[in-house]
């Protein structure tokens, strides 16, 4: 089992319709994601702006790749060293409950290879188990 993407999911106490609005209206997107010039139109490039960091000018260059209205939206997402695709999924669960899922995948280039490797389960476990133990061992040794 390899983990090659970042997936985060939440169940929100709201209609799917409202969740979709928050994902696709410029002002609402700005409130929870970043200031932007988003337009819900496939093939339309837009930018999201955040604080610059070393190796990153703070501008995410994105484009709407696919839209399944009310359900699913795919963006390209290029910022600093990160060149990826971000998918948003909206699933109505009934009773004013909606699951929203964000998947960031397709890390490309050299960093991509390493990020993929790091995100692979075995490697991930290494980070959680042997590596911290190794650190502890070094901390004990003078």
């Amino acid at each position: 089992m390899a983990r090659r993407d970042v997936t985060v999911s939440r169940v929100l106490r709201a209609d799917a319709r409202l969740v979709w609005r928050a994902l696709t209206e410029r002002e609402l997107l700005a409130e929870w994601l970043m200031p932007n010039d988003f337009v819900l139109e496939p093939g339309r490039p837009f930018t999201l702006r955040t604080d610059p960091a070393p190796g990153f000018d703070g501008v995410v260059r994105a484009e709407v790749l696919e839209v399944d209205p009310g359900r699913r939206m795919l963006w390209s997402w290029k910022g600093g060293p990160v060149d990826t695709v971000v998918e948003f999924r909206v699933e109505p669960l009934g009773d004013e409950l909606t699951r929203v899922t964000v998947v960031q995948r397709g890390f490309r280039g050299l960093r991509a290879v390493v990020v993929s490797a790091v995100l692979q389960l075995g490697w991930w476990n290494l980070m959680r188990g042997p590596l911290p133990r190794c650190v502890a061992r070094l901390a004990q040794a003078p």
């Binding site: 939440r10 709201a14 969740v19 928050a22 929870w32 960091a53």
Partner: protein, 114 residues
Amino acid sequence: MIDDRIFRALADPSRRAMVERLARKPHTSTELGASFALSAPAVSQHLGVLRDAGLVEVETVGRYRVYTLAPGPLLELGAWADALEAQWSARLDALETVVGRLQAKEKRSRRGTP
């Protein structure tokens, strides 16, 4: 931002396997060569790249050179990958607030209409 040398060093599967092995315990280059069926020059070249990236440290013990993992860069890398997930998680918390407000507003206006 993480040093490119770390990314370059870890882009190679043999070197990642070596790092994984060294995370468990220190090894001599001979032991590493035997584990991965690599020639001495190949092992030495890989270890050189890992040392340049600050991923391994070497110590001479008697006749042997013992390689140890330097965990700093890897922890940084792990933190970076964790940070991506944490960022989306924080954003979805913010989304929840925005959506909650939309929902409350809609309920109020529904109650408001006779």
